[in-house]
């Protein structure tokens, strides 16, 4: 057990994938790479406690079970590859627009987007807005599933800069991506998965 702020998973598995062992300290990024269907998304969902799993997960030495599900998910944010939206208006997904606006701007999103409908946004805009939304609840760990898949090079750069900045502030990141160059730039540690198991 360690008191250093870090996310640790041991023997994490469900009926389909695993077991996985991983360790991400605050301010670090673990990138997860592997072919489609390898189980990367399932791993993130198990870490976020959105899917049932066996094994041990802890944050800063404290077992996940000592948090309620919602409290854990506030601590360990999860951004799926296709983020969901629960109302029509974009701005209604944010509790504090004044705090979200500068983050959105840093990602190259126009402030007017908050007043428009989600369905009118492009895939890339939605993906970046969902990142803003995930950061807006101040998680200590962020699980990102292909956060740059729909983005042009300039936007990828902005996302990367923002993530680096948040990591300096102590955010731990688990990054699933097909972009090996991005994985190498952001994540020092790498977990390779194939066929539901660590490769």
């Amino acid at each position: 057990m360690s008191d250093e702020p870090s996310l640790i998973a041991r023997n994490l598995r469900n009926a389909i994938v695993g077991p996985f062992d991983l360790h991400v300290a605050a301010g670090e990024c673990l990138s997860i790479v592997g072919p489609s269907g390898a189980g990367k998304t399932l791993l993130l969902r198990m870490l976020a406690d959105l899917d049932p799993s066996d094994g041990e997960v802890s944050w800063t030495g404290r077992a996940r079970a000592s948090w309620s599900g919602p409290a854990w998910r506030r601590l360990v944010g999860y951004l799926p590859a296709e983020p969901g939206w629960w109302t029509d208006r974009t701005g209604d997904h944010f509790e504090d627009l004044d705090r979200a606006a500068p983050v959105a701007e840093a990602l190259g999103l126009a402030p007017g987007l908050f007043a428009s409908d989600v369905v009118r946004l492009s895939t890339g805009e939605r993906q970046r807005l969902a990142l803003v939304r995930a950061l807006s609840v101040d998680p200590r760990v962020l699980l990102l599933d292909e956060p740059t898949a729909a983005l042009d090079a300039a936007s990828v750069g902005r996302v990367e800069t923002l993530l680096q900045q948040r990591m300096k502030d102590g955010l731990a990141i688990v990054l699933v991506t097909h972009d090996e160059a991005l994985a190498a730039r952001v994540g020092r540690a790498q977990l390779r998965i194939s066929n539901g198991h660590p490769a």
Binding site: D49, P70, R73, E82, G84, T87, R133, V137
Partner: protein, 271 residues
């Protein structure tokens, strides 16, 4: 005024209309004639059976027998409500949810009516208790199954939106909130529409029946109003309970969305 009694030949004349439907079904290729015949047969057998049971029950009112009949009716309603809908909760939860959502509002509403407005003597007089349960069950069953069905369908369709809220740390009630509200609305709409249309577009069945039986129209109307209010209360409660319980089952102790607790009934045999 004494009611006009019907003979077998009167029913036979009306039955010719069903035969007309069957002919239509065959000519137009609707494929409904078998189901129509089966439904008509069920109607006759079921109602006749009920008629004899009620006649027997009314002849010598007994609390135990009344209770057994009420229980059997409730059981049938629960069974009916669990066999509607394309998606169902897995395992015994399906029956438990339907059971609570159907039985509790029915019991509450009927007991309220029997102890306040109607007050027969004895209070369990089957002429009132059994008929009231019958009327309330129909409406409550409809509300519960409509609401459940809407909720399960919406939850599957809005998985991404629900999980987006869960992933941000919202609890299950917040995350499922809009699906729950929409489903309760759907469960309550029929009775609201029924109340709004009563008298203008439809002459409600109870009132019509009492008038046909020689009741004064105003007295019949008062009964109908009482019943509609009972049905509205029962339906609202049933929709709420059905959706709350289904929401509990669709989540777990860690407040995850558990769509694996659903089965798709369309893959099984369903008449």
């Amino acid at each position: 005024m004494t009611p006009i009694l019907l003979g077998i030949e009167d029913l036979a004349i009306a039955a010719s209309l069903v035969v007309l439907d069957a002919v239509l079904s065959i000519v137009l290729g609707l494929g409904l004639h078998r189901r129509l015949a089966w439904a008509s047969l069920r109607l006759v057998v079921q109602l006749l059976a009920v008629g004899f049971v009620l006649r027997f029950l009314f002849a010598a009112p007994s609390p135990a027998l009344t209770f057994i009949v009420v229980l059997a009716m409730t059981g049938a309603a629960i069974y009916e409500s669990t066999s509607r809908g394309d998606r169902r909760l897995r395992g015994w939860w399906r029956h438990a949810c339907a059971g609570v959502a159907v039985a509790a509002p029915t019991a509450l509403v009927v007991l309220l009516a029997l102890t306040t407005a109607i007050r027969p003597s004895p209070w369990y007089d089957p002429r009132y208790a059994v008929t009231l349960v019958g009327i309330v069950l129909g409406s409550v069953l409809n509300a519960a199954s409509l609401a459940t069905n809407a909720f399960l369908t919406t939850s599957v369709r809005s998985k991404a939106a629900i999980e987006a809220r869960l992933a941000l740390g919202a609890d299950r009630w917040t995350s499922l909130g809009s699906a729950m509200r929409e489903s309760i609305r759907i469960g309550m709409l029929p009775i609201i529409n029924q109340m709004a249309a009563a008298g203008l577009i439809t002459l409600p069945g109870i009132m019509t029946g009492q008038i046909l039986a020689g009741f004064d129209p105003i007295e019949a109307v008062k009964y109908q109003i009482l019943l509609m209010f009972l049905l509205a209360g029962g339906s609202g409660l049933a929709a709420l309970l059905a959706v709350r319980l289904a929401a509990l089952r669709l989540t777990d102790a860690r407040q995850r969305l558990r769509l694996d607790h659903l089965v798709d009934a369309r893959s099984g045999a369903d008449r």
